[in-house]
C-alpha cells in the first residue's frame, strides 16, 4: 500500500540536495548522448535504400518471425510456470525461481554455449533430438530457442507478480457460481492478469528482437536462416558498412522506444 502524498509534496521534494540533482542530470546524459550520437551520424539520405536492400529486409523479416515465435513459446510455457510459482508451495521453489530468472543476468553468450552443449548435435539432449530429425543449431529453430531462453524470464517475472497480486476471492466467487477450474482461469484469473501478461509479452518480445549473444553462439550467423537484425547490424559494421549499421540500429532503437512508450502508464504499473 502506498501512502497518499499531497500533490504539492509530490511535485517537488526539497529533501533531494542539489548535488544529487546534478548527478542525476549526468546520468540522464549518459543515456541520452549515445542516442544523440546515433541520430547525429545517421545517413538519412541513404536510409531508404538501406531499409529496402535485400539483405536488410531478409534480416528484418527473420527477426520479426523468430521474435514472435519466441514470444509465443514464452507465453505457452511461461504463463503456467508463473502460475505454479505464484500459487503452489513446494520445496525448492526458490531454487526454481533463481533458475528460471537466471538468463536475465547471465551473459547471453554463456547462455548460447550452454544451449549448444545441451541441444547441439552431440549435446546432452540434442543427440536424441538429432536422431528424430530435429536440428536446432544453425537452423532458424535455434534462433527461436536462443531468443526464448533469454527473453522468457521477463514474461515470467511480470506474470508471476500479477498472479500473486490477483485477489483470489474473485476466483472463489466464480467457483460458487459453478465455474470449473478451467472456466475460473479463463473468465476470472486471465482477465485479472491480462495487463501484466500484455506488458510481459511486450517486454519479452522486445528482448527477443534485440537478442544477439545467445543467438550467434547457438544458432550461428547464416544469412536468411539465423542472421537476425542485430547480427546483420554487427556484420555490416564489421564489413565497413557503417551507414547501414546506423540506420538498422535506429530501427531497433525506435522499436525499443515504442515498446516503452506503449508500456508507460497502461501496463508498466502492473509490474
Amino acid at each position: 500500500m502506498m501512502m497518499r502524498v499531497p500533490a504539492r509534496a509530490r511535485r517537488s521534494d526539497s529533501s533531494v540536495p542539489v548535488a544529487a540533482r546534478v548527478i542525476a542530470v549526468i546520468a540522464v546524459l549518459f543515456f541520452a548522448i549515445p542516442l544523440a550520437g546515433l541520430l547525429w551520424r545517421a545517413p538519412w539520405s541513404s536510409a531508404w535504400s538501406v531499409l529496402t536492400s535485400h539483405d536488410a529486409r531478409q534480416a528484418l523479416r527473420l527477426s520479426i518471425e523468430t521474435s514472435l515465435a519466441a514470444t509465443a513459446i514464452a507465453i505457452a510455457l511461461g504463463v503456467p510456470l508463473a502460475w505454479v510459482q505464484a500459487r503452489v508451495a513446494y520445496p525448492g521453489r526458490r531454487v526454481v525461481r533463481a533458475l528460471t530468472l537466471m538468463p536475465m543476468v547471465l551473459p547471453p553468450v554463456v547462455g548460447g554455449i550452454a544451449l549448444l552443449l545441451a541441444l547441439g548435435r552431440r549435446g546432452l539432449a540434442g543427440q536424441y533430438l538429432d536422431k528424430v530429425g530435429v536440428h536446432l543449431p544453425f537452423h532458424v529453430g535455434g534462433a527461436v530457442i536462443a531468443e526464448t531462453f533469454v527473453a522468457m524470464p521477463f514474461l515470467v517475472l511480470t506474470v508471476e507478480a500479477a498472479f500473486r497480486g490477483a485477489d483470489r476471492r474473485y476466483e472463489d466467487a466464480a467457483r460458487t457460481l459453478g465455474a470449473s477450474r478451467w472456466s475460473v482461469f479463463r473468465r476470472v484469473t486471465l482477465p485479472a492478469i491480462r495487463p501484466a501478461l500484455m506488458a510481459g509479452a511486450l517486454l519479452c518480445w522486445a528482448r527477443a528482437l534485440g537478442e544477439f549473444g545467445a543467438t550467434i553462439t547457438f544458432a550461428g550467423n547464416a544469412a536468411g536462416k539465423t542472421q537476425t537484425l542485430p547480427l546483420f547490424v554487427y556484420v555490416t559494421l564489421e564489413t565497413g558498412n557503417g551507414d547501414a549499421a546506423i540506420i538498422l540500429s535506429l530501427v531497433l532503437l525506435a522499436v525499443a522506444l515504442a515498446v516503452l512508450v506503449g508500456l508507460r502508464d497502461r501496463w508498466l504499473s502492473a509490474i
Binding site: 460458487t176 457460481l177 459453478g178 465455474a179
Partner: protein
C-alpha cells in the same frame, strides 16, 4: 432441515468449532467480532474450505464428511453466496455478472441473458444491466450481487456482511430491500455480520461466535433478553422492540407504550434502546426526558462492574446501572421505578 452442519476446522493457529442447523426459509445470523471465525464458517458451508472434522448436509445431501471421505467442492454445490465487497467481476456488465452462473451451468447465452435481465428487474436495477461494476453505487452493487447469487436457484444462500460496505442512508434502505427479496427465497439462509442491528432486524435466529467458539444461540428476543456472557450482553444486550411508526413520524407505538423517537422511518420498525441509556428513578422525573415508563423491578443481574436491572411495566425494559446506583435507589425485586430514556438514544430501523 435444509442445512445441518457440524464444523471443526483449523487454519494455522486458529480453530473454529460450530454446530448449526437452519430450516427452509429460515435466516440464521452468525454474529461475532472481527476474527471470530465468521467468514471461515461461511467458507466451509460454501465448499471453499473443507472441514477437518464434522459433517455438512445441505438438503439431505452430504457435501462434506471427512470421516466418510466425502467433499463436494464449491462449484458442485447448490450454494449462492453474496460476498463481502460483492466481488462483482469487473470486466463483465451487471447483466453478464448475473448470467455468469447460468452460463457456467450450461445455459445458452441468449437464454441466460434473458433470465438475468428478469433477475435484475426483480431486485430493482434493470436500468443498470449494461453498467460495469465500477459504475454502480454500493446499494446497486449489492443488488446485482444478490441477483447473481440467486440466479442459479441455490438451496442454501450465504451472505457475508452484505451491508457492511454501505453508508448509513443506503444501509437501512438496502436492509429493507434485502428482507423483501429474501422473503421469496425458499431455502436456508445464513447471514454473517458483525453488526448487531443487521442480525437483530434480519434474522430469525442468531448464532454468536467468539474466538472460534459458539457462545450462544437463540432467537433475537431470547438473546437480547438473556445474554449469557458479558461479551454477548455488550454486543446484543439491547432493548429491542417491534412497533409501528405513528403518523407524526416522531413516535413509535409498541403495544400500549409510545416511544418518542425523532425521524423514525414510516411503517413497521424495530426500535433499539441501549440498556446503558436507560435511567432509573424512584419518582417520576421532572427533567426533559420525554420517554418515561412506570414499572416494577423484577430481577437484577450482575455483569462485571455493571448491573442489569429488568423492569416490567407498560414497556418491559432492561437498564444497565452501576452497583452504586442500585444501593442509592435501594433497588430490589418488586421496587416500583420509572425508566427514562432520551429520545435521541433510541435507534429506529425500518424492517
Amino acid at each position: 432441515m435444509t442445512l445441518e452442519a457440524r464444523i471443526g476446522v483449523t487454519i494455522g493457529a486458529f480453530t473454529l468449532r460450530a454446530e448449526l442447523s437452519v430450516a427452509d426459509g429460515e435466516m440464521l445470523a452468525v454474529l461475532g467480532p472481527n476474527g471470530a471465525g465468521k467468514t471461515t464458517l461461511l467458507r466451509t458451508l460454501a465448499g471453499l474450505v473443507p472441514v477437518d472434522e464434522g459433517r455438512i448436509v445441505v438438503d439431505d445431501r452430504v457435501v462434506d464428511d471427512p470421516s466418510a471421505g466425502v467433499f463436494v467442492a464449491a462449484e458442485r454445490r447448490a450454494v449462492g453466496v453474496v460476498f463481502q465487497d460483492y466481488l462483482l467481476f469487473g470486466q463483465l456488465s451487471a447483466l453478464d455478472n448475473v448470467a455468469f452462473g447460468l452460463r457456467e451451468r450450461g445455459m445458452k447465452r441468449a437464454e441466460a441473458r434473458a433470465r438475468a435481465r428478469q433477475l435484475l428487474a426483480d431486485v430493482g436495477v434493470s436500468d443498470k444491466a449494461g453498467a460495469r461494476p465500477r459504475e454502480l453505487s454500493g446499494g446497486q452493487a449489492q443488488r446485482v450481487a444478490l441477483a447473481r447469487a440467486l440466479a442459479t436457484e441455490p438451496t442454501l444462500l450465504l451472505l457475508d456482511e452484505p451491508l457492511a460496505a454501505l453508508d448509513v442512508q443506503t444501509r437501512s434502505e438496502t436492509r429493507r430491500h434485502l428482507r423483501e427479496t429474501l422473503a421469496g427465497f425458499r431455502g436456508a439462509r445464513v447471514l454473517v455480520t458483525h453488526d448487531p442491528v443487521d442480525a437483530l432486524t434480519l434474522a430469525d435466529r442468531l448464532l454468536i461466535i467468539e474466538a472460534g467458539q459458539v457462545v450462544q444461540t437463540g432467537t433475537p428476543a431470547e438473546i437480547v433478553a438473556q445474554p449469557r456472557s458479558e461479551y454477548v450482553a455488550e454486543l446484543v444486550g439491547m432493548n429491542l422492540y417491534h412497533g409501528v411508526t405513528e403518523a407524526d413520524g416522531a413516535h413509535v407505538r409498541v403495544g400500549n407504550a409510545l416511544l418518542a423517537a425523532p425521524e423514525a422511518p414510516a411503517g413497521e420498525v424495530v426500535a433499539i434502546v441501549p440498556p446503558n441509556a436507560v435511567v432509573l428513578h424512584r419518582e417520576p422525573p421532572s427533567g426533559s426526558a420525554r420517554n418515561v415508563w412506570p414499572g416494577r423491578v423484577v430481577a437484577l443481574e450482575r455483569h462485571g462492574t455493571r448491573v442489569r436491572v429488568r423492569v416490567e411495566g407498560t414497556l418491559p425494559i432492561v437498564a444497565e446501572v452501576t452497583p452504586a446506583a442500585v444501593d442509592e435507589l435501594e433497588l430490589t425485586a418488586g421496587t416500583p421505578v420509572c425508566a427514562a430514556v432520551k429520545a435521541t438514544e433510541i435507534a429506529v430501523y425500518a424492517v
